[in-house]
């Protein structure tokens, strides 16, 4: 658990941090293999991800420093391409920023029911229904039995 009691103005700026995570995972139109996917910010994931980062005494100062360098009043209103440029401009000075955020962010995003539906994955826990698995190819099994 965190022993970091410092203030985190950038992490605590929900509107800014939502725009930041929306930059990391932007919305996407439907493709051949799946449906439309929302951006991470619009799913409301920012507060939970920020809380997870705050709870780590190692990660919180790293992320806060990186975000502080990016944060500006108009960041959330910028086009995606411009937000990407602003983030990339800080990665040399803050090389651990992205990994520190993406691990909790990706877990949050890819376990969200809306995202799972978009991916065509049943939005439920595995238990109790489980899943269907393709049967073993009978031709392959026959080959093996001939070698037994």
């Amino acid at each position: 658990m965190s022993t970091d009691t410092a203030a985190h103005p950038a992490l605590d700026d929900t509107a800014f941090f939502a725009a930041f995570v929306d930059t990391l995972i932007p919305p996407s139109a439907a493709s051949e293999s799946r449906g439309k996917l929302p951006g991470a910010g619009s799913l409301g994931l920012a507060p939970g991800v920020a809380a997870a980062i705050r709870s780590s005494a190692q990660l919180a100062p790293v992320v806060e420093a990186g975000l502080a360098a990016i944060r500006s009043e108009g960041f959330a209103a910028l086009e995606l391409s411009r937000r990407v440029e602003l983030v990339e401009a800080q990665l040399t000075a803050h090389p651990d920023l992205i990994r520190a955020v993406t691990t909790p962010l990706y877990y949050a995003y890819y376990q969200h029911p809306t995202v799972l539906i978009g991916l065509g994955v049943p939005p439920r826990p595995p238990f109790p229904e489980g899943y269907e698995v393709e049967a073993t190819d009978p031709e392959l099994l026959a080959l093996l039995r001939s070698r037994a």
């Binding site: 877990y107 376990q111 238990f127 489980g130 393709e134 037994a148």
Partner: protein
């Protein structure tokens, strides 16, 4: 009351009530402890098992909740150090002890509960082959075991029945045996990879799996929850809390949970006379026993023996050979995965599909001695796909994120290469001078170096794995070698043998030094083979229990 730092010799015991002496005291309720307890209960002696972890509840396993992937990576991580961090501030209890793994490129992983590491294992269940027991004779390396495949064969078969093993009889890589249940479906990934092996003319076979393909002994067949590695909510995967333990308890075996053994005690006659342990309330207790059996895995067992040093045994109990804690073997793993244009289902028992022994036997033209097996694995969930892809640099953040994710999710299949790790006395479990568990007991420290022979095996496994994946239709591949978080198999740290100068226990698990002290876990392995060890660990435990029962009249001669 004694404090956690009070040396054992200065402790004055104030016990709430005396513990009745028992005939057999087992330390650890995992793979070996469960099998041994069930068997030894027939000997007519009272049997008690002390387990530092709790009983697990299937309703607590991650596959009951939407966040099953993140819970599997934190509170149910196989790495005890990760679990300790994840559970700080919770009421999870002190089941896990920390491990100083700074000195090893392969991190030891395990689980502490009734069932031990079988709670989180993949349940891949190969036996050793006959040649695995005679590597000195056949290949001139390491040492032969003092027992043979034939010694263990009846106990492999008994263990298969108790566990509920699914498989296909007739694998030419093994002496003929019949698993009690038909094989698990190998799925789209298994079918694709099997066709790749067929193209190359390489050996493959459906894995023997400790997962039931049909209803068996009150357990329901596997429904492909696909997260075997964080506990099986359905009970289809065999873990000894649901296989051996209910039967052992029915026979009268007592199992006390939350009990962490601090040391094994020795009487005036030089025999083990019991243990001192912290109970679930943290109170130091004493338990007397006629026979003490250690089943605490290849790290926990040497740790306990070294923590049991005394005036009579200054270098640790049962350690006149100096080999307690030495010859640690892990099984270095390589992961090789491919990207396929067609969909590859990610579901099914992750580690149980097909195996290959194509490169299992020694062929010195390959540049190494002994060999490795392949174990095909299925796909990952969406979150693990994203996190893993990001860590490798295959899934970027920003505008290209979704396309890169789409190319990987449900489009990968692959395998792990499991290499035979040869014993080396420089690879050790010792006691850390500073690190302690929550009871104040010194924690283990691992010192391990990957050998040149292992490096060459891993490189070969990666190259040949790439070849077979491309033969199966993969358009791209990647690998991780050695896999860091894969020290599942903890072996060799209290090896068996007939010579007390070069081994810790004899050919049926009895300490050379202390005649009523037995060791039954992976510590007693002489060599590691190139396959998962649990089937052999449990067969050994059953064999040792049988040996004790057969020799009960002159057990301590």
């Amino acid at each position: 009351m004694p404090t956690l730092s009070t040396p054992p010799s200065e402790v004055r015991y104030i016990l709430p009530m005396p513990n009745e002496p028992v005939g057999v005291l087992i330390i650890g309720a995992g793979a070996s402890g469960g099998a041994f307890a069930w068997s030894i209960a027939d000997a007519g002696m009272s049997v008690l098992c002390l387990e530092q972890g709790p009983w697990m509840r299937q309703s607590d396993y991650p596959t009951n909740t939407m966040d099953w992937e993140s819970r599997g990576a934190t509170e149910f991580s196989p790495n005890p150090n990760t679990r300790i961090t994840a559970r700080e501030g919770t009421t999870g209890g002190p089941a896990d002890y920390p491990v100083n793994a700074d000195g090893t490129p392969i991190k030891p992983v395990m689980f502490n509960a009734v069932g031990g590491s079988t709670i989180l294992w993949a349940a891949h269940f190969p036996r050793f082959t006959p040649r695995d027991f005679r590597v000195r004779t056949d290949d001139g390396v390491a040492d032969d075991w003092p027992i043979t495949y034939e010694t263990l064969e009846p106990f492999y078969a008994l263990n298969d029945q108790m566990t509920g093993v699914s498989g296909l009889a007739g694998d030419p890589a093994y002496p003929y045996h019949e698993p009690p249940l038909p094989p698990l479906p190998i799925g789209a990934t298994g079918n694709a990879l099997a066709r790749g092996f067929e193209k190359l003319g390489w050996h493959w076979w459906p894995s023997d799996s400790a997962i039931i393909s049909q209803n068996y002994n009150g357990r329901e067949a596997c429904i492909n929850l696909s997260s075997c590695g964080s506990g099986c909510t359905h009970g289809a995967k065999a873990s000894t809390d649901i296989t051996y333990w209910p039967y052992a308890q029915r026979k009268g075996v007592e199992l006390r949970t939350g009990c962490r053994v601090r040391e094994i005690t020795v009487g005036e006659n030089g025999m083990a006379d019991g243990v001192r342990y912290y109970d679930e309330d943290g109170v130091l207790q004493e338990q007397k026993a006629e026979i003490v059996v250690v089943a605490s895995n290849g790290i926990g067992t040497p740790r306990l023996l070294l923590n049991s040093a005394s005036e009579r045994h200054p270098d640790g109990l049962a350690n006149s050979s100096g080999l307690v804690g030495k010859n640690l073997m892990f099984h270095p793993y390589a992961r090789i995965r491919g990207v396929f244009p067609e969909p590859m289902e990610g579901k099914g028992p992750g580690g149980c599909s097909i195996w290959s022994h194509e490169f299992y036997e020694t062929d010195r033209s390959r540049g190494f001695v002994r060999g490795y097996s392949y174990e095909m694995s299925r796909g990952a969930g969406p979150a693990a796909t994203a996190v893993g892809g990001a860590a490798r640099g295959d899934i970027p953040w920003g505008p290209g994120h979704h396309d890169a994710f789409d190319a990987l999710h449900n489009h990968t299949a692959g395998m792990v290469g499991i290499t035979e790790d040869l014993p080396d006395e420089a690879n050790t479990v010792t006691l850390d001078p500073d690190l302690k568990d929550s009871s104040g007991i010194p924690a283990p420290k691992i010192t391990y170096t990957l050998s040149e022979n292992s490096r060459r095996q891993l490189a070969h496994a990666v190259e040949r794995g790439d070849e077979v994946l491309r033969a199966a239709g993969a358009t791209d591949t990647w690998f991780e070698s050695p896999i860091e978080q894969a020290g599942w198999h903890l072996m060799g740290t209290a090896r068996m043998g007939t010579d007390p100068k070069t081994s810790v226990v004899n050919e049926w698990g009895r300490s050379h030094d202390v005649k009523n002290l037995f060791i039954i876990d992976g510590s007693i392995f002489v060599t590691s083979a190139g396959v998962n060890p649990t089937s052999t660990i449990q067969a050994l435990a059953l064999y040792i229990a049988d040996s004790i029962k057969r020799n009960i009249g002159n057990l301590f001669d």
